[in-house]
């Protein structure tokens, strides 16, 4: 092989053209990804910069003062934790177990298909409709009054369909062969679910649930009619300052109030409130991610 032979695998003009198109496609996808990230970074940076002078530990742990023009956000922060916590406490078990039934037990007939369709459609119902339902059902019909309980239940109704849908997806991603292997050693369905299906889908299930935390924390409409108030002072520093039948403040609504309803609010206050709301959600998400990484590290496939 002394004489240099022509490279038969050299790029032909067409191959070069394809390569150029490839680069173009790549650039377009990259730009889109960038367009997604840049505004996000800008928004968060802007918020934090504006909020910085106001943010402090004291801001988190004192009630709003002087018609919400001063002071902190303690009662709203705690209220949000109550609302999100109780709504999840209701929505997650029901949603997950219902999804297990629908995915693992239910036969594929017209009835389950209608149920599945209904779940998907419920997930798409606007939150203001849930708000009206919550007002009619929990506040008035069940006589819970405007309270944390009624508002949490309303949030639970709102988040449940999405939890069901995402859990079902996570369950369906577990290979059927795992189930068959289990059945073929004589395991019951419940044993199969308990030992094989759930351990292998738990990280997907958690993701679905956690996404609903952010949604529950951010919604204003459903709680406005069913349990949240504009202002309420509670004992500072006491984590149990709210009772379930009390009304409460919430970060999302507080943000709405001080940015649109109250005149002469100091510039930094709404921004600081927004950052705390964002931070709370990020904090919970971070916890969930850590939990997920830990669970996944135990997964063997």
């Amino acid at each position: 092989m002394n004489a240099p032979t022509p490279n038969i695998f050299a790029a032909t003009p067409l191959a070069r053209k394809k390569q150029r198109r490839e680069q173009l496609a790549r650039a377009v996808f990259f730009t889109m990804a960038l367009l997604l990230v840049v505004p996000l970074v800008l928004i968060v940076t802007y918020l934090v910069v504006q909020a910085w002078p106001v943010l402090s530990w004291e801001f988190l742990t004192t009630n709003p003062k002087r018609g919400m023009r001063a002071g902190g956000i303690w009662s709203a922060l705690l209220g949000t934790f109550y609302l999100v916590g109780f709504s999840l406490l209701v929505a997650a078990p029901i949603g997950i177990l219902a999804a297990v039934y629908l995915n693992e037990y239910a036969k594929d007939n017209w009835f389950t298909r209608i149920v599945n369709l209904a779940v998907i459609n419920l997930a798409a119902v606007p939150s203001i409709v849930h708000a009206l339902f919550g007002l009619g059902a929990f506040v008035i019909f069940f006589g819970l009054g405007k309270s944390i309980l009624a508002a949490s239940l309303t949030l639970a109704i709102m988040t449940m369909p999405v939890i069901i849908a995402s859990t079902k997806e996570a369950l369906a991603a577990v290979p059927q062969s795992f189930r068959e292997a289990c059945w073929n050693v004589g395991a019951t369905r419940w044993q199969t679910i308990r030992h094989v299906v759930l351990p292998n889908s738990i990280s997907g299930i958690l993701t679905g649930v956690i996404l609903q935390v952010s949604r529950a924390a951010g919604e204003t409409a459903p709680i406005m009619f069913t349990g949240a108030v504009f202002f309420k002072a509670i004992e500072e520093g006491n984590l149990f300052a709210y009772g379930l039948r009390d009304q409460c403040m919430a970060l999302s609504m507080h943000l709405f109030t001080i940015s649109t309803q109250v005149p002469d609010v100091p510039h930094g206050l709404p921004f600081a409130t927004a950052v705390v709301l964002l931070g709370t959600v990020l904090f919970i998400n971070a916890l969930a991610i850590i939990l997920r990484v830990w669970l996944r590290s135990r997964k063997k496939w």
Partner: protein, 255 residues
Amino acid sequence: MNHFSITTRDLNLWYAKFQALKNVTVNIPQGKITGLIGPSGCGKTTLLRCFNRINERFGYVTTTGEITVLGQNILAPDVSLIELRKHVGMVFQRPNPLPISIYENVVFGLRIHSERRDLRKSELDDAVEKALREVLLWDDLKDRLQHRATGLQLEQQQKLCIARLLPLKPQIILMDEPCSALDTAGTLGIEELMRALAGHYTIVIVTHNMGQARRVSDECVFMLMGEVVEHAKTTDLFLTPKDPRTADYIEGRYG
């Protein structure tokens, strides 16, 4: 030089820290069927995938040494992977027809490698007929060209996967355990096809089936733990293996 389609010299390959190929030097003769045999995990698939550089899609793979395909060093910087894969086709363990019609499966490569305006219907029709005749499917499928390819029997699917390579006029066809998903009749069908294709194409086949290696291959390469232990004419390798480890393996004592 020209009677070897593929030659490697001191080929080493690492998956991250794990060395999967060690100083592999082989010469694959042109127009013949070469079998790659050896126990699971010895690096047969890895070696096969070096020949069209498909291993590189994992970012953590490092390759050293030389791989020459059709007289060209394919690790050279001016080698276009697009062109390389056109010349070196691959058939996989599980038949993987695309979920489109039989016809479209066969012309898929042509569509990928040509401008739309350069393809005429009659040319495509001819290419389909020629490719399907070559893989002995034409008589069975000529009335069903618009049916979905995924509905075929596994043997037909695998033959279709071979037919899908042919319109691009590859010189080399790599097969990674092409029969392991098929029953006995299907296996014999594919073997018959391989014998028919040999001569026109250089075929490299990975197989776990010693009977198959004996039946179809002209030469055999026995690998163990990433190294080539023995490379000989198939009849010699099976009748008078030079290395005791080869003898152990082909007599089924391990692997």
